[in-house]
């Protein structure tokens, strides 16, 4: 059995940082009213490795929420939202999660986080031999600045 290499990057600041091959930038969560059951998180994820890396979606954790899913909104005459089960990022490519497109769905908050606070997320990636975990703190704000 191959031994997995787990790299966990613990970050101290509010800004996003790199963890190994993956860099996550510009992460934010859209602020929402107190009774909200689902929130959306957006960010840019860059794969700086020489191999494609797969997001391990089922393992993703958003602190304070019971579940995190990856969804994609589409506008082809209809607005539809589809749950994404698997997603791979090619070598040296980046993935944009943005309003009206790909986004994380943060489901059932214990309490809805306030504006100017942050949501801690652990985002898992894997390829043949490695698992990489990136910890981010996504700022809660009204709209992308």
């Amino acid at each position: 059995m191959k031994k997995s290499l787990v790299m966990l990057c613990l970050l101290l600041s509010m800004t996003d940082r790199a963890s190994g091959n993956i860099i996550i930038e510009n992460s934010w969560v859209r602020a929402a009213p107190p009774e909200t059951k689902v929130m959306a998180a957006y960010m840019t994820i860059e794969n700086h490795s020489l191999k494609a890396i797969e997001m391990d979606i089922k393992k993703i954790i958003s602190k304070g929420f019971t579940k995190t899913e990856l969804h994609k909104s589409s506008h082809n005459g209809m607005i539809t939202m589809e749950k994404i089960e698997t997603l791979s990022i090619k070598p040296n490519e980046s993935l944009l999660l943005e309003p009206g497109g790909l986004h994380f769905m943060l489901i059932n908050p214990e309490t809805v986080p306030l504006k100017n606070t942050a949501v801690e997320m652990l985002i898992f990636f894997k390829n043949e031999n490695e698992t990489e975990v990136v910890r981010i703190e996504a700022e809660v704000r009204s709209q992308k600045l």
């Binding site: 009213p33 009774e35 959306a40 909104s73 506008h75 059932n108």
Partner: protein
């Protein structure tokens, strides 16, 4: 899964000027009579559409992505149009497709958070279906293990001061392009 279907709509209406972000109708579509409640629990009818221009879109408050994005966009558009065309008395109207969860208090909380200048409407689902049919808006409830979402027609509608559908736009368009097209339609009509 519950399916609401299109009954009739403005598909036979003659088109007017070609817009970048949608289509304008040379012969506007009459909006049917309707009775819904706004977020302050006040009756809202077709008469409330008269003597002002209205941007209308349909959605639901449990939508975490597209609906808040559209609200943000329309708030920006309203500010721009009111600066450029201060006499047209533009209002933004949000009609929920999910009255089961979007009762008036929920609408008030939701719109109060995102943009309290937007009027939100809810009410009897059958009345909402009549209105969506009138405007050729399709919506479908998608059940999930922990709730439900909707797929629905994406259009943003522009209603003239006679309570007639004058144009429809794609919400995926940029704010600048929507501003220009809305102004084009209003100026051509006024």
């Amino acid at each position: 899964m519950i399916l609401f279907v299109i009954q009739k709509g403005p598909n036979l209406i003659e088109k007017e000027a070609i817009l970048e972000t949608g289509k304008a109708f040379k012969k506007p579509l009459e909006i049917i009579d309707f009775e819904l409640k706004d977020q302050n629990d006040q009756l809202y009818t077709k008469n409330n559409l008269k003597n002002k221009w209205t941007i209308l879109f349909f959605g639901y408050t449990n939508c975490p992505d597209v609906c808040p994005t559209t609200i943000f966009k329309l708030g920006q558009i309203k500010q721009h149009i009111n600066r450029e065309l201060p006499n047209i008395n533009l209002q933004i109207l949000f009609i929920t497709l999910d009255p089961e969860r979007d009762y008036t208090e929920r609408l008030k909380e939701y719109l109060g958070f995102f943009d309290s200048s937007i009027t939100g409407l809810t009410g009897d689902i059958n009345k909402i279906v009549e209105l969506t049919s009138n405007l050729s808006v399709f919506f479908q409830r998608i059940n999930k293990e922990d709730g439900y979402d909707f797929s629905h027609t994406a259009s943003i509608f522009l209603i003239n001061p006679r309570a007639q559908l004058k144009a429809s736009f794609s919400p995926a368009s940029s704010i600048d392009m929507l501003n220009e097209d809305i102004k084009k339609v209003v100026k051509k009509t006024n």
